[in-house]
Symmetry: C2
Subunit: 398 residues, 2 copies
């Protein structure tokens, strides 16, 4: 029997799909489970002690203004703080060029809203961030996959795709990519910038992880190579607290203007109080003391995971060794179905995300998996990887 | 010269329009201006002193959980608190039946997203809340206006409209309506409920103001008359703090399910910390001490405005005398253009909102205006109304 109001759903609703990672996370809450799934910061990274002080400072300094309706573009002291924070990434913009959203997911959704007419083609690196696909899909695009390798998206493949068809935009997680952990190399950034500038194309650069660098030198954002052709977006979820839902972006003027208008219609503005907390967190310098602590927590976890993989995974499996971020990407031999392996692993109290969910054509990613190393501690990671190694060895190929 | 990326905008972007009230508010910030525009709570109503304690209580009680990623449907203690709060309005639902959004504007946007296919017809009372029109318009509906009188929407006109054409939903602000201040009477609620139940129609009941009652008896929400045919939405913006962007809704099961999915793709979930603050504000009972204080602040302001209007406005003007809310609706004689009057009033340092912006056909509302009485104090209100009376008397009809 159809449910009441079945006929009332919009055309676009039929193209929405639930974020399957979040569905998978439901198993993760079972007692005793070690989760290498999700992309969730360790709660120890939140500056809770500091927040008692930051709350007081915000109420003392801003009073009612921190609780009142505010500008659609974002709380001015927060945008000013973000402008100073972005300068450290070589992004030189004024507060007026920054728009604040409810997490970076909300930037992606609003970009989809203002840019995607049903049937438009979006270019994605292969594999690509599932949350972005969820956000865009509500606006009924078609996708085209661009080949990648260890240096990120392949410029030749991108150029060929752009020359073959009209592409609305190219979506890239440029540094410590979700799900692979890969970073688009500086040489590649230059090449991709040339390609999009020549063609008047638009890149959406999603950069949530670049502060989480455990070794090696910082790479300037893609935005700095092609600012007129790039929407740069990031978040404080990995360096402050994801529950505050603070994302932001810098965009070419016309896109900035329509993002503003769309946001006004969608929710008027983002949480003023959270923005005030974050501006205090940045302006007081607390962020610059906290990020090294986060790195010192995550680096040994990643090292523990890589060492345990080396010790326990079969020789037929390969994986990335990222310089930062939250994920390691594993590729099993052809014939392995990582989702079947997932359910075996769950019986052993280990959860991860089967990689196929990050592909437009899930069949292309059957033997892949994404492992997160920020949530579990080193001992948990060693236990989980050893168990996963046993499951892999016991697991029949197709 | 067209701006870069002009051709990249989606079809729906072309149907978006800026919220003109917020554009008008820009004039309001001029020094010395008394604003009867906007729908902004008085900052004195925010429980700032209490918030020092509430912040500490939240960090003590929930710690990292108040800062972490959380459920798409909303922070569980907050939804439990809302369930107890809604019981006082005779809405008996469990926490699981409540969804939390970034302000009620965000509920309206998400309803538009899941329900409106371009060209669908939305029924609006005349005049209607501009913010809702902004939210829905991004999804390219057509609108049909339903006649209203002092008791709210006219049942016969509604029935006739529903019988004449397929209507996706009827949007109503049922109590102390924005912009008129009118309340749909209990008798009308019964009649409208019968009409929509007979026809399997869907009502979106927006109820931000019902707690702000200055006299008379509470009216049960329309939802209680037709729960299976109603999406009920409200906000803490008028009884806690709008800057926290906390809206919520109760919806029929299928609509609940798709609102959840759409929200997951749009921003994962609403601000956990703000939800924790609000749950503490409700569970501690602070809200039930604060609302009477808000009423005691606003009631004399409304009384001052009504008395000053009686003393200063020309006899050719009429207005509503609502039992609560934030607005009084004024109708001038035919031939008056309230927008022209607005610019004269601004010269006299008084701002309001010309009523035509609340009409699908602006010509229908030319001589109307919306006056807010919650932001200015009594002295300011008396000064503003006296000035407005002078402008009205000096103002030529068309």
């Amino acid at each position: 029997m159809p449910q009441m109001f079945q006929d009332f759903l919009s055309q676009r609703t039929l193209s929405m799909r639930r974020n399957q990672i979040r569905e998978i996370l439901k198993v993760v809450s079972q007692p005793g489970m070690i989760s290498l799934a999700g992309g969730i910061p360790a709660p120890e990274t939140f500056p809770i002690e500091n927040l008692y002080r930051i709350n007081e400072a915000v109420l003392d300094r801003y009073g009612a203004a921190a609780l009142q309706y505010d500008l659609t573009e974002g709380f001015t002291p927060f945008r000013e703080a973000l402008a100073s924070y972005l300068k450290l990434k070589a992004i030189n913009v004024s507060a007026d060029e920054i728009l604040v959203f409810n997490g970076s997911q909300n930037v992606l959704d609003t970009l989809g809203k203002i840019l995607i007419t049903p049937g438009d083609i979006i270019a994605l690196e292969t594999p690509s961030y599932l949350g972005a696909i969820s956000a865009f899909s509500a606006y009924e695009p078609n996708y085209v996959s661009i080949a990648t390798d260890d240096e990120g998206i392949q410029p030749d493949a991108l150029a060929e795709t752009l020359d073959r068809q009209q592409v609305k935009f190219i979506y890239l997680v440029t540094t410590f990519q979700n799900p692979t952990g890969r970073t688009l190399s500086p040489a590649r950034r230059r090449q991709v910038a040339e390609i999009v500038k020549e063609r008047g194309a638009l890149v959406i650069e999603d950069d949530p992880y670049s502060d989480l660098r455990y070794r090696g030198e910082a790479v300037a954002p893609f935005y700095t190579y092609a600012p007129e052709n790039t929407v740069y977006l990031s978040t404080l979820s990995k360096v402050f607290a994801p529950g505050l839902r603070l994302g932001f972006c810098v965009a070419p003027p016309l896109i900035h203007e329509w993002l503003y208008t769309a946001k006004q219609g969608a929710d008027l503005h983002s949480n003023t109080y959270a923005q005030a907390l974050a501006s205090e967190y940045i302006c007081s310098g607390a962020i610059y003391g906290q990020v090294p602590k986060i790195i010192e927590l995550y680096r040994p976890r990643q090292e523990a995971m890589l060492a345990a993989m080396e010790a326990h995974f079969p020789g037929s499996y390969s994986w990335t060794e990222p310089d930062g971020g939250m994920f390691i990407w594993v590729e099993g031999p052809a014939g392995v179905d990582a989702e079947a392996l997932y359910w075996k692993a769950v019986e052993e109290k280990v959860a991860f995300v089967p990689g196929k969910f990050f592909y437009i054509n899930p069949e292309d990613g059957l033997p892949t998996m994404r492992l997160n190393f920020t949530r579990a501690d080193e001992a948990g990671i060693r236990t989980a990887i050893a168990a996963l190694g046993r499951v892999m060895r016991a697991f029949p190929k197709a």
